[in-house]
Subunit: 359 residues, 2 copies
Amino acid sequence: MSYKNFPMVPRVIFGRGSFNQLSEIISPKRLNVNAPFIFLVDDVFKGNAWLTSRIPLAYDDKVIYISAKEEPKTSQVDSLVEDIILTSRQGTSGIIGIGGGTLLDLAKAVAIMLTNEGEAKDYQGWDLVKNPAIYHVGIPTISGTGAEVSRTTVLTGPEMKLGINSDFTPFDQVILDPELTKGVPKNQWFYTGMDCYIHCIESLTGSYLNSFSQSYGDISLQLCKEIFLGDMSETEAQDKLMMASWHGGMSIAYSQVGVAHAMSYGLSYLLGIKHGIGNCIVFDHLEEFYPEGVALFKTMKKKHHIELPKGICANLDYSEFDVMINISLSLEPLWENALGKNWKKTITREKLKHLYQKM
Amino acid sequence: MSYKNFPMVPRVIFGRGSFNQLSEIISPKRLNVNAPFIFLVDDVFKGNAWLTSRIPLAYDDKVIYISAKEEPKTSQVDSLVEDIILTSRQGTSGIIGIGGGTLLDLAKAVAIMLTNEGEAKDYQGWDLVKNPAIYHVGIPTISGTGAEVSRTTVLTGPEMKLGINSDFTPFDQVILDPELTKGVPKNQWFYTGMDCYIHCIESLTGSYLNSFSQSYGDISLQLCKEIFLGDMSETEAQDKLMMASWHGGMSIAYSQVGVAHAMSYGLSYLLGIKHGIGNCIVFDHLEEFYPEGVALFKTMKKKHHIELPKGICANLDYSEFDVMINISLSLEPLWENALGKNWKKTITREKLKHLYQKM
């Protein structure tokens, strides 16, 4: 038996207002005055001086605003990399991602593709990256995805939605400043928080679990329960959800996600449904696989008055179901983690179609 | 306000038998065939082929067996460094520490002193180390100290017992193989496990605490309760105590230890009492500061039939108490964490003497 030698984020700073330390953190990493830092920033912050005025720009540093309305794409990574190479002739000092899972995943993928030949789609899978990425920093502004700590960057490619899983993917530095999450709209807060909750349920009930992953999953799940079912101040909830996301991401180290993620990847690929809400839509129908987890999810949904979209698969035709089912079934490690080595006995194409039809 | 940018161990592997992967992990780190890896190994393993036959020696690699009967000393670090430099004329590829807190702290200190001038005692304190350490790997064989994940290495010097706290202190790689802890004697298992439990109590009740450190402390404390008060298989207890130690060490990131550690440093310095048992002896008398924590400690002690030594300070004279009190009072961050900025109002020399006299 061989165990994974897991890469952890080597530097982390936590605290309300720690974003102000970005300049002192990245300055020593500047290669030369002609090698800029590139800041990839969620475009919801465009014009929001409270945040943008604190981005420490110097020399040729550049901010690129990116919409997180759609899931990140391999083609988007390729075109960002091309732009950056063209405008930074003496190299790039680093990539700093500021935003949610979409921006963080783009930052990780761009940092990898700046030092690896070919196209981003060539690296979707496990351990295909050859060269270390350039210095990259992750600064989450919404909590739940675990993208700030994971060794993957999930991208939609021409053929599949799949992560670039590699030892070079994790950030070199993460800044956890819970204050940055204060403007997140309620629905998005819930969907993204539930991404973390669902991670935990899938990880903790999975067959891959060991004591390492369990300990991270347990604390993350406990925090999710306190945040979404308990009673605490807004700032405390922001602090704790940021930690829940962090530990939830770590809990995947020796585990995997499961049925909800496998199915929601299909929804994202075909219908462009964002990851957080997609997971919620799917998880709501998975009592059969996660009875306790789904019951608690419904309680949380009710407490926070969340109405999930319905009938999103109502008008799909036969071939469209096929596309979703193909994407979903291709994620074998997720199914194996959820249901064991004989998962194919339980999960048939008909079964998946039946589940999708309810959504 | 400025927050600490915390260095985390960048690589960790967890699993029963993961020690077998040591060779594949360190091989790529060899600088050249004349630059050996030096293995610092607890001498309880001398002649224990189950472990030693799996130490992957090649070229000029060397095993140095070290007794952990005494706390590690700065002079011991200096003499190890001198020996290693004399016998490794083309540099050293790395230091691998295999053992408990003593061996892990020695490995960290030696790795630092191989690239920093002067003597180890010059670096006791906070952030005095100038140059990155050489590659160093930590492999705990007993769980509880948190030395495998911390940014300190606690050494007894000519003038004080104090850690080399620096960003270069943490291991580059940690191997968490719970199977390596199977031969630990019962008493030592308890004392070292209680080091972790006491960390958690001191961290969680301290004034420095934030949500980052709290989340690690909570899971570690929860695991300690399950292990020392619950009922589980021996292998599960080994796995979980290794994780409790890991998270307990992390919980100090934005926190500190407290009264028990401040006072047990005095006992260690004067009487050479080992850290784990020293903490237990002190903590047993700290109801005043940690009422719930001490009550639970007494329950654990009873459940595991542990008898602590008594009267260890009975025959000390005035000047000896003074030495212990001086050492203890010098650890200001620990007292401030435990009792707040005005700790000097509560903690007088008389008060400390009175407490020591009970031990």
